[in-house]
Symmetry: C2
Subunit: 197 residues, 2 copies
DNA sequence: TAAATAATGAACACCATGTTCAGTAACTAA
DNA sequence: TTAGTTACTGAACATGGTGTTCATTATTTA
């Protein structure tokens, strides 16, 4: 990629992230972005179709990283499949936590919808692979949707509760995961890796 | 209230509902609304601050009705508290089902955020009153948030799955309600009033 | 019937959007 | 080093929705 293009893109994302920490997404104008990034108006439009496009690209890149296959992830088979799933979720939380500054802002307006949509799409892939227990007679995809939505909502909650670590949040979520509530009775002690405070 | 005002408001809401069935909320302009409602531009702005205001008022009125105290609701004490709660939820679903046409549309864009916020606010009041079982050591308000979010998401799902009745949806939701999963084991048969297909 | 209240609609200023284009700067490959 | 390509610039412009103003007309109320 041309060095000039990369420079421009980087400047735009940097400006966008900064602006998100200062005001809500709907209040940010294209003018704000190009002023902050110090680029020409036409340059912005040669890179992005519009402000919404920029948001989409940002969200996609966040989750691409958060759910990236990192070395050794697939090899977590000294643990059970369940532990591998929990590790994957915790890994994602670490990434999201790094961007708390502007993620909080994105979540607190219309743009939250966009963010959550991307988030849930990735989570559906993750939980779709999970072959853990599902209560008697309940469709698996309905159970998956429950895990997806509730994990996403848990993260939304976490963004305003910085005192919890990623491990703690995954542990708390896990206790609400459908199927786990019942199996926990049969195998006590399996529910959480780290106790909640 | 002045008959003229009432007439204008009604025309605006009617036009808004119709337009929502035709296109997404972001694509609807104030011009669309006043053309359809056949009122003057300044008239619209004397009733509503902006398009967003109209959406807020519409959402509030929907849930005011859906969660209204209707006669005999408080007297459901021939059933348990649990049955009263389920009846309240089912009642709300009947109301929401009546407006499926435009509710579906509201939910499928930015405006869904607004709708869900109002919905969850009302649900927090409802589930906050619920004193049912909560798993060992989990904060009650966290459990409440789970019921709130998952019921709201279930409705979102229901909007695209017309084949289920309100009773069936409440029953399905109930099986995922935290606390219920465990108590169901102790008291089998209490989980659902109507079996799912 | 008079006073108060509401609706009208054209006209207006405003502002963000997205496009165009001629000119300049930076890369690339021969 | 040079020629050719690609990217950035920034001013200018057309567009379109927004929200306000105000003199006029219609309706309600007392």
């Amino acid at each position: 990629m041309d060095r000039r293009q990369a420079k421009t893109r980087k400047a735009v994302f940097q400006a966008f992230a900064e602006l998100l920490e200062e005001k809500g997404y709907p209040d940010i104008t294209v003018q704000d972005i190009i002023d902050r990034a110090d680029i020409g108006r036409s340059t912005f439009y040669s890179h992005f179709e519009a402000k919404e496009d920029l948001l989409n690209v940002l969200c996609e890149s966040i989750f691409e990283h958060a759910f990236s296959k990192h070395p050794g992830k697939e090899d977590t088979h000294d643990f059970s499949e369940k532990e591998g799933l929990k590790a994957e979720l915790t890994h994602a939380l670490y990434h999201l936590g790094e961007h708390r500054g502007y993620v909080k802002s994105i979540l607190s307006s219309e743009s939250g919808d966009v963010f959550m949509r991307y988030f849930k799409n990735h989570l559906r892939e993750v939980f779709g692979r999970d072959s853990g227990p599902v209560p008697d007679g309940i469709p698996r995809d309905y159970a998956v949707e429950h895990s997806v939505c509730w994990f996403a909502e848990t993260v939304r909650w976490w963004m305003d509760n910085e005192e919890y670590s990623p491990e703690e949040v995954t542990g708390l979520f896990w206790r609400y995961k459908v199927g786990e509530a019942e199996s926990r009775r049969a195998h006590p002690g399996n529910g959480m890796k780290n106790g909640m405070p």
